[in-house]
Symmetry: C2
Subunit: 420 residues, 2 copies
């Protein structure tokens, strides 16, 4: 049989995640520091069931009916108000500009589908979310890294030069968006400072709204102690002018991932309408029941109570993993920073140690019984090759310590013997 696939179809290949999952299935003895899942222990099964029972008591069967393509109005209102509070914004965030998606992933997909043809360009951070890079590859869109300072911030002077080069070469017409993970990023754990976000918006506004900003705030609520001290790009638009912004986040990563509900807010009405038209064709609306469960969880305070539990849990797990790694890896020449939120440690191995899927180091880690995400997957250009993403999302504290031991054992084999 010889189906002739579309150009899009032809571009599809097994994803890096699928490859990781295949390894995980073949080797159930492995401890996974790879998956960016949340942990089963903290999933609020009893609490969510109580919400389901509450919905039944209220007796509104329409929660099991089809909903609107753009999402449940009550949930959109609650989330728009929540975003406005987080941004300490004076102006009202318009419910009309908000929408609900199948996880935040779909919002990003709709954004790229509506903006980019194959051959177009999206600028990304280095490192960036590797599933987003896969999506761009799948859609035939070129990802190019923005310049970065030695401290890991976006180098706005360098970005300005890059944009100028694009203008000179004509590539600027292919540049459709900048993708920025602005809070406790996957994988770096970093947040974008207010100054940096403002500077990027300031650069983009020179292009008359032709270049959009995709702000991915999936981990914004998963801070450990205090929220990161910067409002969203939406709140900065007043001073930064007319840049179309899509802000995307998820209601379920910081609650119950199995519900798969994302939330988006788009400042550009025509763009929003086009994304919603595509969503209408893809699924005609996210599962209405899940949205009702989440609206109820927000209204009753369950969502926030559970968030407090998660923040403390993830902070504890981050500390357990990092502490155990520090006892060995630092002396071996590895380095990383402890994040203030999120699910990831982003490690730099000593120069010369490569960590990719086909590397000796990766083989050694699998032999030692631990999985991680090779950092090169998180870079548009596939390098540097000596980075590692470790997630402390899935495993419990004692398993994390064991996984850290195994990781250190693997690292030990790649450490030059020191002669003292």
């Amino acid at each position: 049989m010889s189906l002739n696939f579309s150009k899009l179809g032809l571009r599809q290949k097994e994803s890096d995640i699928a490859r990781l999952m295949t390894v995980a299935l073949q080797r159930p003895d492995l401890l996974s520091l790879a998956a960016g899942f949340t942990d089963n222990q903290t999933l609020p099964l009893a609490e969510l069931t109580a919400m389901a029972v509450e919905l039944e008591k209220e007796g509104d069967r329409s929660v099991l009916q089809y909903g609107a393509n753009q999402g449940n109005p009550r949930l959109r209102q609650l989330m728009s108000e929540r975003l406005q509070r987080q941004d300490s914004a004076m102006e009202t965030y318009t419910v009309d500009r908000s929408f609900v998606t199948n996880g935040s992933q779909q919002a990003l997909y709709l954004a790229v589908q509506s903006l980019c043809d194959a051959g177009d360009i999206v600028l990304v951070e280095q490192p960036t979310y590797f599933v987003f890079l896969e999506m761009l590859r799948g859609l035939g869109v070129e990802a190019i890294s923005m310049p970065t300072t030695s401290s890991g911030e976006i180098d706005t002077d360098g970005l300005e030069r890059l944009l100028d080069e694009f203008s000179s070469s004509g590539d600027i017409d292919r540049l459709k968006a900048v993708y920025m993970i602005s809070y406790y990023a996957n994988p770096s754990g970093r947040s974008v400072s207010r100054a940096s976000k403002s500077a990027v918006l300031g650069l983009l506004q020179r292009y008359d709204g032709r270049i959009a900003l995709l702000e991915d705030a999936a981990y914004r609520e998963l801070y450990y102690s205090e929220p990161h001290d910067s409002e969203s790009a939406i709140a900065l638009l007043d001073e930064c002018g007319a840049v179309p912004v899509l802000y995307s986040t998820t209601l379920t990563k910081p609650f119950a991932t199995g519900l798969k509900v994302g939330f988006g807010y788009c400042t550009h009405d025509d763009w929003l309408a086009r994304m919603m038209a595509i969503k209408g064709q893809q699924d005609f609306g996210t599962a209405n029941y899940n949205q009702a469960l989440l609206a109820k969880s927000l209204e009753t305070g369950l969502f926030d109570r559970h968030l407090a539990v998660l923040r403390s849990s993830y902070q504890g797990k981050m500390q357990a993993l990092s502490s155990r790694l520090e006892t060995s890896l630092v002396d071996m020449g590895w380095s990383w920073s402890r994040p203030d939120g999120g699910l990831y440690l982003w490690l730099t191995a000593p120069e010369g140690v490569q960590t990719g899927f086909d590397s000796a180091f990766h083989e050694s880690a699998i032999e030692a019984g631990v999985m991680y995400v090779p950092g090169e997957l998180c870079h548009a250009e596939g390098k540097p090759r000596n980075r590692v993403r470790l997630s402390f999302g899935v495993l419990g504290t004692s398993e994390l310590r064991e996984a850290a031991c195994r990781f250190c054992a693997a690292a030990q084999r790649f450490t030059p013997t020191r002669i003292s």
Copy 2:
């Protein structure tokens, strides 16, 4: 602001459904025979909540965890076995070829995305599902109607001639798939006979597997008395050779639409892999909790008990609507057949009565307080213009009678006075 949209983005416009919904919101006094929703009264809120409580008792929190991109293995197994039973098939239906989607809509979208570039062709029935036509327009794909016999079957001799013409003209290279709604179709209420399905497969197999069959079986389980007497195209492949088939259906239309879970089965492994890669980029898996609820509903028999309720309910509502219409419309020259399943009556108005959104008849119906779907939306070529889709899904029996009265009153104004 002047975003430069992608070609896909530029093709998006307000959908016909959105237009219908806008009217519905502006005029809450209207009775809707338009929406293909199920009715709130029959939605199993208490029963589904019992499933949620059951899941809590079992205590497996992983139902709230991320699931696999291709879907929950247990649900896929249950549905593959169910499909095999429905097809009375001897050969085992492979779970590996099954997958779960966000409603059956997403399966169709993935199929078209992976097969068709803008400018390609998909053959459809006349009439066909109007949201599918919108999807094709959104993706830039040309829909062309297959020839139809006077009794409404696919005219396979005519189809053979059409395929021959495509071969002569070279258009055959753009023809990627045939879309067939084979059970109690939306909007015609018709089912495709075994002979007709076999004949279409027989024609397609001449093209060495280059033309796929998309079989949409969304309403298969919503028969009133007996299942339609034809197996799926999958079961017919043994005798009809190597045609790639995607069979799509929904678990939630015949149960609780607000859960939005579809099921697909694809006989072509490479095609399936490409669709799954795209799904991985769109959402990385349908909500896991919903899949657990549905697997539990299937296992406990709730799903089938509820189906029995729905079948009886929809049959009763079909009879109520059709009977009331028959008392007036037949004498006015309207015609239709009572379906054996599904949610729709498909009416033919007297010649010369146009029913489109901008027609005097449509205006008259809205004035009389009733909404319907203009039949021309359901035809790739936008005609005939004198058809009407009425859905008895949403309204209760007495409301249906009132809606029928209003519809008849509108029709009355477009009936030539007879001189006896």
